[in-house]
Amino acid sequence: MKPEEQWVLDAIKGDGEAFMKLMKLFKLDLYKTALSYLHNEEEALEAIQEVTYRAYKHLRSMKQPAYFKTWLIRIMINYCNDQLKNNIRITVNAELLQSYGISENHTVMELKDAMQGLDERSREILTLKYFHDLKIKEIAQALQCPEGTVKTWLNKALKMLRDRLDEKGGSLNV
């Protein structure tokens, strides 16, 4: 058993310290997820606060300690989706891009845009698969569905992403 799995067990039993250790262990994963959805540092931090709160409250409903990370990320994705529904005004503006400390090129912006246009499930799958390096099996466990279904969804998501990118007439057209 990995040490973090023991922490998860301790946290479920009510050990606040173990819970904090876990949150700190996965904070970057959470932050990046939040950022990829919300494109705003301030909102991402707020998301982390809210996800910590939700995770602690629902700790007892978590069934498999081995998938604690996926479970956390899913809480984050749900939260982000709720947020996006509440304020549809998310557009990437130049100022924020600079605050990321990276110079974003055209294709990246295009991709972000395309990701935003996807439905919730497709986006979730892509996020889990490519941003968090999760295996199909892990995603299947997290979403509680067969691996075949995840594969289908993933293909569909990728296809939709391609279609969206093609629409934009990007230079990467095959």
Binding site: G16, L45, T52, Y53, L165
Partner: protein, 285 residues
């Protein structure tokens, strides 16, 4: 198949990986969320504790009422605690008598006499060969803080000698604010079975406002006096080597008499029955 897209996605991920972020800010956010959950948890625990104590209090209260209602011993004990009398009175009712009323042994009499603004009414009775319970009501023009029935005397109007063995006519009625109406019972039990249907009752009512009036009411019982029902038991019970034979039970609307016999072969003599009670099939006395 979608290698191009995958590649681009991974590139994007890399960008997020490279994002500079203050770890302190993240830790702070985590801490804030944790604190929020913690504080709510505390409130939840407090609420739960409060609910528990409420539930326990409710159970105790129900238990108390239940005990008073079904255990005369406990009720007698409670009555000694100041302030409990009223509650006990409310809860405690004679189940057997209630059953007698329900089984139509109650007969309506409704005879009254009025004197100086005080009316005494005999509302009704439950009567059998061995006993009689009269229900009365006092109506007054003025509010009475106290009223007591005294010197009750029941006589047959058919010349029959009533050999009373037991007579009881309620405690003094008392009310802090004063009441215009009081109700109570007069109980009689006789040694010799009675046959008369016409009676005369004399009584005195005393109370506040120097109340002191004698009343004389004649009444007759409209229904037949209920005869006893004899149930032959003939059951032998052995306790600690001593035998007790339950011969029969005489069931009256108001009372049940159980005849028991101890064989002479017993090595010990039974001096007294304590905690005597009649229990029905549901275990209620």
């Amino acid at each position: 198949m979608y290698s191009k897209e995958e590649e681009r996605l991974l590139k994007l991920k890399k960008q997020y990986d490279d994002v500079e972020i203050s770890m302190d800010a993240l830790d702070e956010a985590i801490f804030a969320g944790f604190q929020k959950a913690k504080s709510e948890e505390k409130i939840g625990i407090k609420k739960k504790r409060w609910m528990y104590s409420m539930a326990v209090a409710a159970v105790l209260l129900i238990g108390l009422f239940w005990s008073i209602r079904f255990s005369p011993v406990f009720a007698d004990y409670m009555i000694n605690i100041p302030g409990m009398e009223n509650i006990v009175e409310l809860l405690r009712e004679d189940k057997g008598r209630m059953a007698a009323v329900e089984n139509k042994y109650y007969q309506e009499i409704d005879v009254s006499q009025e004197k100086n603004g005080l009316k005494v009414t005999i509302d009704g009775a439950i009567a059998d060969e061995e006993g009689m319970v009269l229900f009365y009501t006092l109506h007054s023009d003025r509010k009475l803080k106290e009223a007591t029935i005294k010197e009750v005397n029941l006589k047959s109007r058919e010349g029959e000698q009533l050999k009373e063995s037991f007579r009881m006519f309620g405690e003094p009625h008392y009310s802090q604010e004063g009441k215009k109406q009081y109700s109570g019972e007069i109980e009689y039990f006789f040694d010799k079975p009675i046959t008369s249907k016409k009676y005369e009752i004399k009584l005195k009512v005393t109370g506040s406002h120097k109340l002191n009036e004698d009343f004389k009411l004649a009444f007759h019982l409209p229904k037949e006096l209920k005869k006893k029902k004899v149930i032959h038991l003939n059951k032998m019970v052995e306790i600690a080597g001593q035998k007790i034979k339950f011969e029969r039970a005489d069931v009256y609307p108001l009372r049940v008499a159980v005849k028991v016999k101890m064989p002479e072969t017993n090595t010990k003599r039974i001096l007294a029955f304590e905690d005597l009670r009649l229990v029905d099939e549901n275990g209620e006395s």
